[in-house]
């Protein structure tokens, strides 16, 4: 048990959430982060789906990594990811139909998410199953965290609600408050993401750490 949660393993799990965040630091998976974050609910579901798929594809690839011929490894990885994406997409259709309609093609497009292939190539191909699994969960959660923050800000300012429940009281609207239509557009998501990256880097200022 002690070995399972050693310091290195905890590092593997926690670094992608903050210091090596796939969206904020590596700037991967931006396309889907802009497309699905207009509301909080799809952002959460998308984040969880990516977490599950990254974790299990990392695990599976790591288990069979020694049997994959090097020249066709990308194809093998794609097959594994595609299978997992299909499973997740079917589960969503069965149990959360409304959200899966909102997410539309973006569930299927998880297969092209750079974070997935990046983790498979960079981590799962050369590490054991347990580390790979942790790495997948960490990266997925790092991605999900950014999505949830951006999604919450956009839904709150764009629709005045969170998870579909109205937060801003009617009295505000009567006094002349208006929802910001710009927040529902992907352009504003990019600006918000930029602000998030700005804040994140200001907090973990790499120059300050070196000194």
């Amino acid at each position: 048990m002690g070995k399972l949660f050693s310091k290195e393993n905890r590092e593997v799990f926690s670094s992608p959430i903050n210091l090596n965040n796939p969206v904020a630091v590596q700037v991967l998976g931006i396309c889907s982060a802009l497309a699905v974050t207009s509301q909080l609910m799809p952002a959460i579901v998308m984040g969880l789906s990516v977490t599950v798929i990254t974790a299990f594809s990392n695990l599976i690839i790591s288990l069979i990594r020694n049997t994959i011929p090097n020249r066709i490894r990308i194809i093998v990885q794609l097959v594994v990811v595609a299978a997992l994406v299909t499973i997740v997409s079917m589960i969503l259709k069965a149990f959360a139909y409304d959200v899966s309609v909102q997410l539309s093609v973006y569930v299927g497009l998880i297969i092209t998410n750079c974070i997935l292939m990046g983790r498979l190539e960079a981590f799962a191909m050369m590490n054991g199953p347990w580390e790979s699994f942790l790495d997948g969960i960490g990266n997925g959660l790092g991605y999900a965290m950014v999505l949830v923050i951006v999604g919450a800000v956009r839904e709150f300012l764009g629709n005045g609600s969170l998870l579909g429940f109205q937060i801003i009281p009617d009295g505000f609207y009567e006094m002349g408050y208006m929802n910001n239509g710009m927040m529902t557009m992907p352009a504003m998501a990019l600006i918000l993401l930029g602000c998030f990256i700005w804040a994140q880097r200001a907090i973990n200022d790499p120059d300050k750490k070196k000194k």
Binding site: G176, M178, N180, G181, M182, M183, M185, I191
Partner: protein
């Protein structure tokens, strides 16, 4: 004047390093250089200075904006009285006073928010205050409809100053015209107060001036009417003078013309850009009115009406000629202006969702201005290289 100079000199030590008001150094510096041309010269190298510095240039633009501003104030009162049906019994000063009270808060909000951010950033980065907001702050109230609430203007100004200017490095570094980014933000974020038919006429009386209109009062701009296929209700003369509903400063061709003369006479704006915007709009208008799509009321408008209506003149005179965001090569200015004019008419005619295309056309060409400059410069290099090889 001397007394002011003496007073400034007296309080100056307070703001220098170690003084008790050092935190407001940038504010003091900004006001001092605005009131008096600084008498310091650069200490190293050989420099060629223009006779007037950029704060003085900005002041000329603000002066050029004043006719449009004053006419806009009058027009607000006029539209309000016209809508109430009491035009005959309302005096000139009553209408003007009403408009003045309607516009003044917008000007104040725009300057306080924008300059506030500029001051904070200048203090924080330990730099001088940039003068760019002097013009932007005056442009912003002129390009919004009178029905636009103040808090919305405040948010839009803050957004534009931070995201269109400061993150690019401040005045002179921005890719986009800051005032137009303010308008674009308003246009996309709060479409109900920026377009449609409820925001163009002031509907409440202020301090006893003006008239209360029913809540459901609607009045579209001539371009808005044309875009929905309705007949334009105002006469051509009114459209030319500017007695039509529209954004505060954009309606009167005459007032904008006076501003254009001031800008051209002082040499602040480029006549090349200005003329070519009008040529571009006219050519595109001619093409559409002769070969345009059938049954499109905007396409059927004669070319001169395209130029008179909406923000075309205002954009051509005050926005397209912005020296920071327009093309900088002399030949490039022709292409830049022509494409703005043509693009504005294309957007008006072909996209019924946007009755006014000037804002989007200028922002679009802002993006392409560096490319135009690059092509012009490369062309020149190629031409001269060929000439050299032939010999």
């Amino acid at each position: 004047m001397n007394a002011l100079r003496k007073y400034l000199d007296k309080i100056k030590p307070n703001f220098e390093e170690g003084g008790k008001l050092h935190a407001f150094r940038s504010v003091f510096d900004g006001f001092e250089t605005f009131l008096f041309v600084p008498n310091t010269t650069s200490k190293c190298g050989v420099n060629v200075h223009d006779a007037i510095d950029s704060k003085r240039i900005m002041s000329f633009v603000v002066i050029a904006l004043i006719p449009a501003l004053l006419f806009g104030m009058y027009n607000i009162g006029y539209q309000n009285a016209l809508a109430a049906g009491k035009l005959a019994e309302t005096g000139f000063w009553e209408m003007f006073g009403y408009g003045f009270l309607a516009v003044l808060p917008k000007i104040l909000v725009s300057y306080i928010v924008g300059l506030g951010i500029e001051f904070i950033v200048a203090q924080w980065k330990n730099e001088e205050i940039h003068e760019g907001y002097l013009v932007t702050g005056m442009l912003v109230p002129l390009i919004v409809p009178v029905g636009c609430p103040l808090w919305v203007i405040a948010i839009a100004c803050a957004f534009a100053v931070i995201f269109a200017k400061e993150i690019f490095g401040g005045t002179g570094m921005n890719i986009f015209n800051v005032a137009l980014i303010t308008r674009a933000f308003l246009f996309f974020a709060y479409p109900t107060v920026m377009s449609g038919d409820t925001c163009w006429v002031a509907t409440e009386s202020i301090c006893g001036l003006g008239y209360n209109l029913p809540d459901a009062f609607t009045m579209a701009t001539p371009l808005g009417e044309a875009a929905t296929g309705a007949a334009i209700t105002t006469s051509m003369w009114d459209q030319f003078v500017g007695l039509i509903p529209g954004s505060i400063g954009e309606t009167s061709v005459i007032a904008i013309g006076i501003g254009a003369i001031i800008l051209l006479w002082t040499g602040v704006a480029s006549w090349k850009t200005m003329i070519s915007v009008f040529v571009g709009g006219a050519v595109m208008g001619l093409i559409f009115s002769n070969f345009g799509p059938e049954g499109n009321a905007v396409a059927a408008m004669p070319w001169y009406q395209h130029i008179i209506l909406g923000g075309f003149c205002f954009g051509a005179v005050f926005m397209a000629t912005d020296p920071v965001t327009s093309a900088r090569t002399e030949t490039g200015k022709y292409y830049y202006g022509f494409l703005i004019g043509a693009m504005a008419v294309i957007i008006r005619v072909l996209n019924p969702g946007y009755p006014e295309g000037m804002m989007l056309a200028i922002l679009l060409m802002n993006v392409f201005a560096p490319l135009i400059d690059y092509i012009v410069v490369q062309n020149n290099i190629d031409k001269r290289a060929k000439r050299a090889i032939k010999k």
